[in-house]
Symmetry: C2
């Protein structure tokens, strides 16, 4: 008998981003000439930088010649890229991460989704709220979420609210989760944790034997000095945290697909009989069995980002997007909207005016300004009354969007 994974039937049918797309489509149907500016999905718009493009042309050329052809690569990624990551992303920040603690992949979405494969199926999960939906949905699929309640919470997941009331700094868990997802700089709120704020989490995790799944896909956007780029800047974090990184937002690789995950050798979990097992070995085994490495061409492109030229070009790209962020923040502020984020992250999180719902504000912004964003409630119950705009657009479009938003009829 063909039997399905019943956990899938618990997932609500519509997703946030498909509902967003449908509302835009309906609006476009009714208003065919409307020139909508899309600031919803967190996709980049600038082209790939020259250093990476040149490296990828070279790599494609190598694949055309039997003498330089590369077939199957290591499932964990090529050492040429892992060594650069260990050196530039970690050693230069005073962090010791070994090459064999780094696993190259096709992106952080895959890794944050697949990491659950190596964890106990009855592990209790905590997430910040609002949250990147992948963390929740993948745990629903794995049977760790329980049932969806009327208020939008999953019964077995602990939600750590992040709202203006607590300055978007999540409280430590009240229940006792086994696994906590933290994403900083944060998607969707655009806020960051300082060194001492993050240190509290590491301390908590160490004291309570909790695994932190730390998503730092947006670390390249950090501008302020007291914001850690890596959780491993906190002493002892290597005993409790896995870190996910991505070239998607750092260098515009959303369509190329490359990211990496650090699983420290000192990180251990318990088996049923109480034996300590290294998660590094489990993840290696998972990747060797269910993954065959990221594309050689793309790994060469990623390597080039670590050259002197590549580093400058990446910085320019980030500066470009952060200029958009400042423009957005200032513009929204000018018309009296309360905004958060956008200082160490490419997302602006705004409080909807009055007590307007996130979806009502979505419709209002679309209809009055022809600007599409993302309703905060789509990221979790505590996102209700908030709204996300991204700084990933072209500068002129962002300027135009700000101009339009300023015409918004508030009250």
């Amino acid at each position: 008998m063909i039997r399905i994974n019943d956990n899938f039937t618990r997932l609500p049918i519509s997703y946030l981003f498909s509902e967003v797309a449908q509302r835009i489509d309906r609006f476009k149907e009714a208003n065919p000439s409307a020139d909508i500016i899309r600031m919803g999905i967190g996709d980049v718009t600038l082209p790939i930088c020259g250093a990476a493009v040149n490296a990828m042309h070279k790599a494609v050329g190598e694949q055309a010649d039997a003498n330089t052809f590369h077939g199957y690569g290591p499932e964990q990624g090529y050492d040429f890229l892992r060594r650069k990551i260990a050196d530039v992303d970690y050693r230069r920040r005073g962090i010791d991460v070994a090459v064999d603690e780094i696993f190259i992949s096709d992106g952080a979405k895959s890794d944050t989704g697949n990491i659950g494969d190596i964890l106990g199926t009855d592990s209790r999960i905590a997430v910040t709220d609002p949250v990147y939906p992948v963390y929740v949905d993948t745990n629903v699929m794995a049977g760790r979420a329980g049932t969806l309640e009327a208020d939008g919470h999953w019964s077995e997941i602990e939600y750590l609210e992040c709202t203006a009331e607590n300055d978007f700094i999540p409280s430590l868990p009240a229940k006792s989760p086994d696994v906590i997802y933290l994403c900083y700089p944060n998607n969707p709120t655009g806020t960051a944790l300082t060194y001492s704020q993050l240190a509290k989490w590491v301390e908590y995790a160490r004291a309570n034997n909790v695994l932190i799944l730390f998503d730092s896909a947006y670390e390249a956007y950090i501008r302020q000095p007291d914001i850690p780029h890596s959780i491993y800047e906190i002493p002892g974090a290597k005993d409790v945290a896995i870190e996910f990184r991505s070239f998607s937002k750092t260098a515009g690789f959303t369509g190329l697909r490359c990211g990496y995950t650090v699983v420290p050798r000192s990180l251990e979990g318990l088996s049923a009989d109480g034996t300590k097992i290294k998660l590094n070995a489990l993840w290696r085994r998972r990747q060797c069995t269910k993954f065959n490495g990221a594309s050689y061409v793309v790994q060469r492109g990623a390597e080039a980002l670590y050259s002197e030229e590549g580093q400058l070009q990446v910085k320019e790209m980030i500066d470009y997007y952060m200029r958009n962020a400042t423009l957005l923040r200032d513009g929204l502020h000018d018309i009296g909207l309360e905004t958060f984020g956008g200082i160490n992250a490419p997302y602006i999180w705004l409080k909807t005016p009055g007590s307007m719902s996130s979806w009502d504000f979505f419709d209002k912004l679309l209809e009055e300004c022809l600007v599409a964003g993302t309703p905060g409630s789509g990221f979790g119950p505590a996102g209700e009354g908030y709204f996300r705009l991204t700084a990933f657009g072209h500068f002129d479009q962002t300027k135009e969007a700000v101009k339009r938003i300023k015409r918004l009829k508030l009250n």
Copy 2:
């Protein structure tokens, strides 16, 4: 408390291919000047064909320009590639596969591993024996395999033996599995099923409501007319089968990473309450949540394989490898070794001489001929006494390997 997935602790520590690599390394250490010909791992050696290389250069160029830049693509792959697949791989063979039944991925290893996500965790599994280890290991990880017994079988998996005694044609299951993995043309035995032999499996699956996971990664190597390229050539197969394909062996994409999976819309599984659920929708949901599409550059490369030029170049590549296969078969036959496969597949499966074990033959071939292959026992208990050689080498190397093997002392 950090808890691991205990199923991982059941996996034996050493893998087939790492043991192969270690034995070669030890031999090289003792014999530093030995010029070993590696015919073990099933990796290709010819470079990527011109049509795909040109298309990838063009795609890299597009990524360098804001006007042609591609960010996030559809998780299911671009329609430009899905349409070509539907047309060339299916419609031209008289098979109706719709674009939305095709899911592009980073390769068949990922897909055959991840497909378990959408299936019931207590589904009973059957595999042919010998078998591609990924089918078994991923089910061990998911808790469907039971325990490893002393004879090399997993207690909860049904093994369908394929040996010279039954002409490598597996019998229908004696137990009642829910899911059966079939790989034809077969890795590792290199044998194929005829239309009528495969039709029996479809009939069985339909009569017993069993899911067939059909891996046809080697279909491009089929030479004989009565061997089906797709399981969907059999009427009714779309109600019971998922098909996996890969550009790895078809076009040398092992290092580029691209494949696809067909999940027919008519294929249904049962939920706990007996509701029929479409597997197509489940796989779409799984891919949207845990995957972010294959690399744009690589998808453009794959698309080019379907051009007239690309089709000719792919055919030349296959012809090249199949010339190796014939050379190997003939050479082994000349010295009295019994061989199988190599007619519709790039693998030669040979019976070890006398009652020699697979590993003893591995050592003998390495020591006497400096040729490394893969011991059949590594693919499952019924592989004991067999040995795999691949036709994926360069022609001159393959010729040299045959010359050396002919010196083998078979007493």
